[in-house]
Amino acid sequence: MSGLSARSLAKGSAPPGPVPEGLIRVYSMRFCPFAKRTLLVLKAKGIRHEVININLKNKPEWFFKKNPSGVVPVLENSKGQLICESAITCEYLDEAYPGKKLLPEDPYEKACQKMVFELFSKVPSLVTSFIRRQNKEDCADLKEDLQKEFSKLEEVLTNKKTTFFGGNSLSMIDYLIWPWLERLEVLELNECVDHAPKLKLWMAAMRKDPAVSALLIDVKAHKGFIDLYLQNSPEACDYGL
C-alpha cells in the first residue's frame, strides 16, 4: 500500500490534502508498535488505505490538528473524521468495514478479548522502560516484571487450550498484542518467554499469518532506529530509507 515505506513528514512540511473517497488514511510511523496494530487490521481486512508517516522527533505543526496529543496512529477518512488511540482505531475499522470480523459477534467472547487486553496492558510501558534504561546490565527487575506479565498470558492460553488468544483462529486480540512480542528479538528479551511455551508457540503461529509476515520489521533496521531514537535524532523515523 502506498506510503508504508515513505519518508516521514516533519516540521515545515505542507499538510496533506483531504482523503480521497474510497480510501482511509493512517498517520503512522514505521517502527511504532501502536500504529502497527492499526496497520495489521487494515491489512487483515483488506481495507484500501494510504499511509502517511510522521517524524515523531520533529512533528509537523499541522499534525496537532489531527491529534492534539501529537501521537500516532490516527485514522482520517474521506469525511474528515479523525480517530485516535490504537485500540479504538482497530475496533472502528472492524465495525465500519465489511468482510471478516476480527472481534467476535458474541458479547461474552468480545468481553473476554477485552479482558485479555487489560491483562496485557502493563507490557507496553515495561518495554518502553527497558528501551530507555541506560545500563542494560541492570535490568533484572524489568525482565522479571515482563516475565510476570507474560505468565498471565501463558495462563490464558493454558486455560483456553487454543492456539490463539481468541480461539483456534487468529483474531483482534492477537493483533493487538503482537507488536510487542515481535520486538522481543531486537531487544534481546527472548529469555522473558522461556518459561512460557504456549506463548512461544503462539509467536511462531503469528509469524505465519499473512498480515503479520507482510508487515514484519527487519531486525537490523529496527536496531538502527532504536539507537537513533534514543539519541533523539530527527533521522530515526526514516532509518533505512
Partner: protein
C-alpha cells in the same frame, strides 16, 4: 429482586449460589464509582439484576474466584460467565441485552465516545450539545457521571465553577430518571467517607439499618 441497600458480604460469609436464569448478578459496593457505572447501565436498560455488595476492606475468600484481585464491579451470568472492568461490563450489557442501545450505532460515533472516555481526566472543551453524545443522554454520560456526582460530596464542586458547560451538564444529568434513582444522599456519602478514612470495616454499610 434485592435492591442496593443490602449489607456487604465479608470474610467468613457463605459464597452465593448460582445466578438464577433470567437474571444477571453484579458484585458491587454502594459507594464505588466504577460499579456505579455498571448499575447505571443496568438501570437505564431495564435489565433484571441482583446486587451483591462486597466489603472491600474485608473481602470474602470466595470472591477471589470471581475476580483474581477481588475487584468490583464483576458481572456474573446464569451460565457462570464472569465479566469485569467497569467499561467492559457496561459494553457487554449494551451488546447482550435488547432494547435501548446506549452506545451509538455509527462506528465513528462509537469511536468518538471511546476517545472522550480516554480524555476524561483532561476535559478541556467539548461541543455545544447538552450531553456528551448529543442531545440525548447516552453511554458516555453514564460512564462519566459517578465522578461528577461525587464532586459535591468531596467538597470540590468549585472545580466546575469556571466551566458553565459542565455545570449545565450536571444539572441536565440530575434530571435523568436513571441518575436520580441511583443518587446517593450527600450526608450518607459523607458519613461513609469519614468512616472509610478511619479504616472502619463498617464504612460500607453506613446508612443501612
Amino acid at each position: 429482586m434485592p435492591g442496593d441497600g443490602t449489607k456487604a458480604l465479608a470474610k467468613g460469609s457463605c459464597a452465593p449460589g448460582p445466578v438464577p436464569e433470567g437474571l444477571i448478578r453484579i458484585y458491587s459496593m454502594r459507594f464505588c464509582p466504577y460499579s456505579h457505572r455498571t448499575r447505571l447501565v443496568l438501570r437505564a436498560k431495564g435489565i433484571r439484576h441482583e446486587i451483591i455488595n462486597i466489603n472491600l476492606k474485608n473481602k470474602p475468600e470466595w470472591f477471589f474466584s470471581k475476580h483474581p484481585f477481588g475487584q468490583i464491579p464483576v458481572l456474573e451470568t446464569s451460565q457462570c460467565q464472569l465479566i469485569y472492568e467497569s467499561v467492559i461490563a457496561c459494553e457487554y450489557l449494551d451488546d447482550a441485552y435488547p432494547g435501548r442501545k446506549l452506545y451509538p450505532c455509527d462506528p465513528y460515533e462509537r469511536a468518538r465516545q471511546k476517545m472522550l472516555l480516554e480524555l476524561f481526566c483532561k476535559i478541556l472543551d467539548y461541543e455545544n450539545t447538552t450531553f456528551f453524545g448529543g442531545d440525548c443522554i447516552s453511554m458516555i454520560d453514564y460512564l462519566l457521571w459517578p465522578w461528577f456526582e461525587r464532586l459535591d460530596v468531596y467538597g470540590i464542586a468549585d472545580c466546575v465553577s469556571h466551566t458553565p458547560g459542565l455545570r449545565l451538564w450536571i444539572a441536565a444529568m440530575k434530571q435523568d430518571a436513571t441518575v436520580r434513582a441511583l443518587l446517593t444522599d450527600k450526608c450518607v456519602f459523607q458519613g461513609y467517607l469519614s468512616l472509610y478514612f478511619r479504616n472502619s470495616p463498617s464504612a460500607f454499610d453506613y446508612g443501612l439499618c
